[in-house]
């Protein structure tokens, strides 16, 4: 019992640490990647000076994230006379919390056997094994969508309670856009559920460690079309360019969080950056084989012809943790590439795109998958 508590405390600490690090790091990645993409240098003026010396540590501008955080904490928390004080105060947290909660069901590693990892503690753990995720739920994917849908409420609350017409317009846009794209997102994932026969994310990743033909049995190999649609819908869900209508600066100042300042505004921004990481983690889990290298299982790497390269448990755990982070960072970087390459849609185009283009395509994809899955399994 106490062992479970210890292990899950470590998992939760790791997950929160990873998310916060990604939230901070992605602000830097976004700035630097955008700069390098457009022949610039990027933010690199924040520095730490070693005490009592003139040595300034710049580290490629990595400290700008910290400088931002300090600035947001120290700024005056200017408030308008909100329409609904309580809703105004609670809205940033309603946006921020579900984003963190989604990560609870995403597995960031395979089956962990602490007794094999630390032989001196083997007796204490008594052969218990833990899947490396905070909560292994049967309804994993459904939880993701349930919590993902809750951020709409926060955006709507923020816009509605700010007593600002730009904020209200932004909230209306956010609501209609996010509900539309949530539908598309759910439909694209249905195909995967048909193939894997489960919504348990740990199970889905385990099934992707096999092979199909010469390729790893990743979701993107089975469902390349759904992967593309899912990525587009996820970016729209995250309200980033090319779908950043809810906060279109040139039209709505800052959209639904126009009236927020200091750390409340920082929470909205932080939630957005963490959501990039969440979307990347979800995409990795569903389509890119999760925490495993291609052809890798908890036992080791399986080559063609059932040739197994066995790996020690410690090596497997470390590899899985690292591979997961690398994949998430790569997908997040791809999202940033999209954000700095494409122009923004017009508002009617966004909804038209969702209902007249992506929804039919997702339905077609689902039907074809259903027919194929039915004919394969008899």
């Amino acid at each position: 019992m106490i062992q479970d508590l210890v292990v899950y405390a470590v998992f939760i600490g790791y997950a929160i640490g990873v998310l916060m690090t990604f939230g901070l790091l992605l602000t830097w990645v976004e700035r630097k990647q955008a700069a390098v993409m457009s022949d610039r240098i990027g933010a690199n003026r924040a520095y730490f000076r070693l005490p009592f010396t003139q040595v300034k540590l710049v580290w490629w501008g990595l400290f700008h994230g910290i400088a931002d955080g300090v600035k947001m904490l120290l700024k005056e928390d200017f408030r308008p006379q909100p329409y609904d004080w309580y809703a105004y105060m609670v809205a940033p947290w309603v946006v921020f919390t579900p984003v963190l909660l989604v990560f609870a069901v995403i597995p960031f590693g395979g089956m962990l056997d602490p007794g094999r990892l630390f032989p001196s503690l083997a007796d204490w753990f008594g052969g218990r094994t833990y899947p490396m995720q905070i909560a292994r739920l049967d309804a994993g994917l459904l939880i993701v969508f349930a919590f993902g849908g809750m951020t709409i409420i926060g955006a709507m609350l923020a816009g509605w309670s700010s007593s600002n017409k730009f904020a209200l317009l932004g909230a209306l846009r956010a609501g209609s856009q996010m509900i539309s794209y949530e539908l598309v997102m759910g439909l694209t994932v249905l195909g995967l559920i048909l193939i894997y026969g489960t919504v348990d994310l740990f199970d889905i990743v385990a099934q992707q460690s096999g092979r199909t033909g010469g390729l790893p049995a990743w979701g993107i190999v089975y469902q390349p079309f759904a992967a593309t649609l899912f990525m587009a819908a996820a970016i729209a869900e995250n309200k980033r360019i090319p779908f950043d209508l809810p906060e279109a600066e040139s039209e709505l100042i800052s959209g639904y969080f126009t009236e927020y300042s200091a750390m409340k505004m920082g929470l909205f921004m932080f939630a957005e950056f963490i959501e990039i990481a969440i979307v990347a983690a979800l995409f990795t889990t569903l389509f890119l084989g999760g925490y495993n290298l291609p052809f890798m299982t908890d036992a080791g790497i399986v080559f063609a012809g059932d040739l197994v390269l066995p790996m020690s448990h410690g090596a497997v755990v470390v590899t899985q943790l690292v591979v997961f982070l690398v994949k998430v960072l790569a997908v997040a970087s791809f999202q940033i590439l999209i954000r700095w390459s494409l122009p923004r849609f017009r508002y009617d185009q966004v909804l038209m795109f969702a209902w007249k283009f992506m929804l039919p395509l997702a339905l077609v994809n689902l039907c074809v998958t259903a027919v194929l899955a039915w004919s394969n399994h008899g």
């Binding site: 990647q33 700069a35 390098v36 993409m37 457009s38 022949d39 610039r40 240098i41 593309t228 590439l337 999209i338 700095w340 390459s341 494409l342």
Partner: protein, 192 residues
Amino acid sequence: MGDALSRKPYQRKVYWNAPTLTWWERVYLFEIMRGLGITGGVFLRNMWRWMTGRKGALTTYYPEETRADYAAGNRGKHILTQRPDGRPQCIACNMCATVCPAQVIEIDAAFDPEDTAHPKSPSRFEIDYSRCIFCGLCVEACPEDAIRMVKEVPELPSMDRDHMWLKMDELLTWKPQRDVAKPYPPKAGGSA
């Protein structure tokens, strides 16, 4: 009036060079991928340059770096010419301060009865570079060739606005070895 109020359906004007999209472009996905390829290619190219120790950006990292391609006629900094003994040639006549359209030159005069040839000299000569427009009128107004402009730019960026006042010690740092037009410093005993 009949024309203005007629209820004909609106006809969109057709331009001779109206943009047309092929079906390939209309699908949009392939064009997105092409665009991502372009931006991603630029990213990889610049990243490769940074990683191989070269510069992958067009930005000049001012003030640590200055551009090498300043115009040949660029004059960014004032200097005060000097007498052979190192004192300023300036006689504190205030003509440059008078002609200056931005009124950035401030001169305090000092009197030295011992130096009969040049009894008047500046005790304070300061230029405010935050307002200077670099027109060069001070150089033209000077009867003594005491102020000139040189190609360098002063190191202005700082956290303090007062830093943008260039004082006399900074203006008196000009020590050229050779000037074809006007040999400097002038030969002692020559016409000064």
